[in-house]
């Protein structure tokens, strides 16, 4: 059967497609959403209004946008460092959880003694907790050549069950009417809101600072250079004598540390205590954020805002239109799907069949 078209490698990557792929994917995502909402019998335009406009008409709404973007940004920045080096940590959700536990533990048991040092100590403990959890796949990969993809993913469920054990058992608030949650953190262990009337806290600055730092790390430092070479051409890294094990360790520790920081910022910020669920899947959504942001820090800042908007839109659609909450998952997934498809056209183009 004659083929009507075929893919052809471009002579040089297309600069236009590199820029246009993200907006194109967003447009296709909207089109898919339009079709899906029509099938569900909702007026798509009204639904879009509820989904994409209403949440952001108030100061509080904008604050929520920034608040939810913060953990996404932190996790995605850390993951992107690893992905550029071909280290596939997909367990940021677990590292976030352990970071939250470690930081909250310092706040709960040491907060009263630490005074104004409580918050810094908690943040450091959160980072170290995330790193420790990410060190497990790093150790197993470098010692026994296991796949960090599976190990980091499995550790997510262990982390979540460990959290569940703590809040149902030893760390449960004695005055909490048997609710599975820890006592509230003391006031000196809570992040203050930046703007009156919102829940945004200083974590946003940390995330933006980390974005700048991660750009500098990737573009200027020798360690960042070695990670990039390891990702682009492993044989060239071996030829130059860059240690493959060091790459794995560094990539996982950075990813784990950033996710751990995101975890403790959630607990010390909007949540204020430990409960069985502290993240609606930020660590997994961050994988999408990292790719939609094309693994570049600036792209990740924008992508995390976009993903955060989809979370909020999903919530308001759930409340006002009685749409299932999975609708935001559909939007997120179709965005990633179209993004990956559009990336193909950076290096390839479609040609009609030859006569």
């Amino acid at each position: 059967m004659p083929k009507l078209w075929r893919l052809e490698r471009r002579n040089a990557p297309s600069g236009l497609m590199r820029i246009a792929s993200a907006p194109l994917a967003a447009a296709l995502m909207l089109l898919t959403g339009f079709a899906a909402l029509s099938v569900l019998g909702k007026d798509p335009l009204a639904a879009f209004q509820v989904f994409f406009v209403e949440p952001f008409t108030s100061l509080y709404g904008i604050g929520e946008l920034l608040l939810k973007a913060t953990p996404l940004m932190l996790c995605a920045l850390g993951l992107a460092v690893g992905y550029r080096a071909n280290v596939w940590n997909i367990g940021a959700e677990g590292q976030l959880t352990i970071g939250a536990i470690a930081g909250a533990g310092v706040g709960l048991f040491g907060g009263a003694h630490l005074g104004s040092w409580a918050l810094p100590a908690m943040l450091v403990a959160g980072i170290l907790g995330g790193m420790a959890w990410a060190a497990i796949p790093a150790l197993l990969r470098t010692r026994f050549n296991t796949s960090e993809i599976f190990v980091s993913l499995m550790l997510v469920y262990i982390a979540q069950l460990f959290l569940s054990y703590l809040v149902h058992g030893p760390w449960r608030d004695p005055a909490g009417q048997n609710f599975p949650q820890s006592p509230p953190l003391p006031d000196n262990a809570l992040l203050p809101a930046l703007i009156e009337g919102t829940r945004v806290n200083g974590g946003l600055y940390l995330a933006l600072g980390l974005a700048a730092l991660s750009w500098w790390f990737g573009a200027k430092t020798a360690a960042g250079f070695r990670l990039r070479v390891g990702g682009l051409a492993p044989a060239a890294a071996a030829y130059a004598g860059f240690s493959a094990n060091a790459t794995v360790w560094l990539a996982l520790l950075i990813g784990g540390g950033a996710a751990g920081l995101a975890g403790i910022l959630e607990v010390a910020g909007p949540i204020g205590l430990l409960q069985p669920v502290i993240s609606p899947g930020y660590g997994f959504t961050a994988i999408i954020v990292a790719f939609v942001g094309r693994l570049h820090p600036a792209g990740i800042v924008f992508a995390s805002l976009l993903m955060s908007a989809l979370y909020l839109g999903g919530e308001s659609a759930q409340i006002e239109l009685q749409l299932p909450s999975s609708v935001s998952g559909v939007f997120q997934a179709s965005l990633l799907f179209f993004m990956l498809a559009a990336e193909l056209f950076i290096h390839f183009r479609v040609r009609g069949a030859r006569p």
């Binding site: 002579n11 040089a12 200027k220 430092t221 020798a222 360690a223 250079f225 990039r228 070479v229 682009l232 051409a233 044989a235 060239a236 071996a238 030829y239 130059a240 004598g241 860059f242 240690s243 030859r354 006569p355």
Partner: protein, 521 residues
Amino acid sequence: MSDAFGVAAQAVPRLALHGITKRYGKLVANDHIDLSVGAGEIHALLGENGAGKSTLMKIVYGVTSPDAGRIEWEGEAISIASPAQARKLGIGMVFQHFSLFETLTVAENIALGLDEREPAPQLAARIREVSVRYGLPIDPAQLLHGMSVGERQRVEIVRCLLQSPRLLIMDEPTSVLTPQAVRVLFETLRRLAGEGVSILYISHKLDEIRELCDTATILRGGKVTGNAVPRTESNASLAKLMVGGELGECRLTPRVPGEVRLALAGLFSEPEDPFGSPLHGIDLDVRGGEIVGIAGVSGNGQRELLAAISGEARTAAAGAVRLCGIAAGRLSARARRRLGLCFVPEERLGRGAVPAMTLADNSVLTGGDFGLVRHGIVQTRAAREFARATIRRFAVKCGGDAALAASLSGGNLQKFIVGREIRLQPKVMLVAQPTWGVDVGAALVIRQALIDLRDAGVAVLVLSEELDELFAISDRIAVIAGGRLTAALPSAAWSAERVGLAMTGVFEAAPASAGEAHAVA
């Protein structure tokens, strides 16, 4: 130039190309090319890398289509839309890189490449018949992975011959063969030509072309620069057409070597690749101020040997590899570089250079410990300056220090990599296939650069499949076969035949002893 078409002029040519033009973006790969091959004619297509030979053959074989021009097959204008159509017309092609499966038998590999299905016993019988008739002995039931490169090439040729081609295209067929295997191949090709098969023979090896081919079309920069009867030309006159200027020649001035810089003692290794070759106790000394060449057909342990010296693989015993007197067998590749080792690997893209990085970044790849990284920070300006200086000194044709490594032609990238390593001022220089796939002009630059290093007192070890090259630049030569290495003896003690025999594992062919060798030298 003499009239090139004595044979083909009378009859209708089997294949005639008129004004073939093909553009890739701004690059004109083929610019109004005319070419004609008669029945039973062996026609050479001669040109440097990037001259447009491969593009032209892709057009003839239907892999790509020309932007302009006419193709005539036995007098009829046609267009060739696909390799399947080309095969149907009677055009066969043996590619430089084989497409064979290691885990399948010869017959299974051949069956996969045929356009029509054929019962296995019948196919096996035909394979046997064709292989006997043309002096290409192969066993249809043998598994591929145990076969040498020369044998694999036979499989590819037999696959083409089963379809009774009337035009056979051979793309650089001798680049992987021993001198003896080249003889056999030439005999086969002559027999085919005697039966009326036309052969298009792509190469840049002038001696071969003068020995084998009836006529030649010479390409340079996508244009035909001449037609010739190679037998009546000299290497110099052909090279002049190909390169567009006079070629210099490498010269080794006698020199007393200095102290031992690289010492291998009882080097053993198990291959990581299950089809690789283990090394069986390699002993070798390379002194400052000499070039030692290692000949051998690829897949005989070269990869393992290079990795063991470079540090990409570590040896069990630290003393098995000594660099400037220091036991280095357990050191990392980076630590060995700090001891003064520089290395040009066989694979340029993806190993010697990162394809998606700029030349400036690719300078940092191995130059990091030599001033291009300070206090953990990449010195961007120094790296760009380093890349620019390398580009200038070795006349690398490229878009400047910000050009991506992947955008350079093979020869220019090799000049850049060799240049980068030389500018890091090695004490020991390790080079694999220095001029593999590199055009004549660039090859000369690279060989001369290696000789200059030797004259400056550097210990140089070169692994190459090109014997002519090794004889041209080596003070001493050793041969590797089946993971064993002969003694390294003065080049004059070897003949091409003895090297060829040693390459097949017949080590008795090596000059009997160092004493005898020195006497000859």
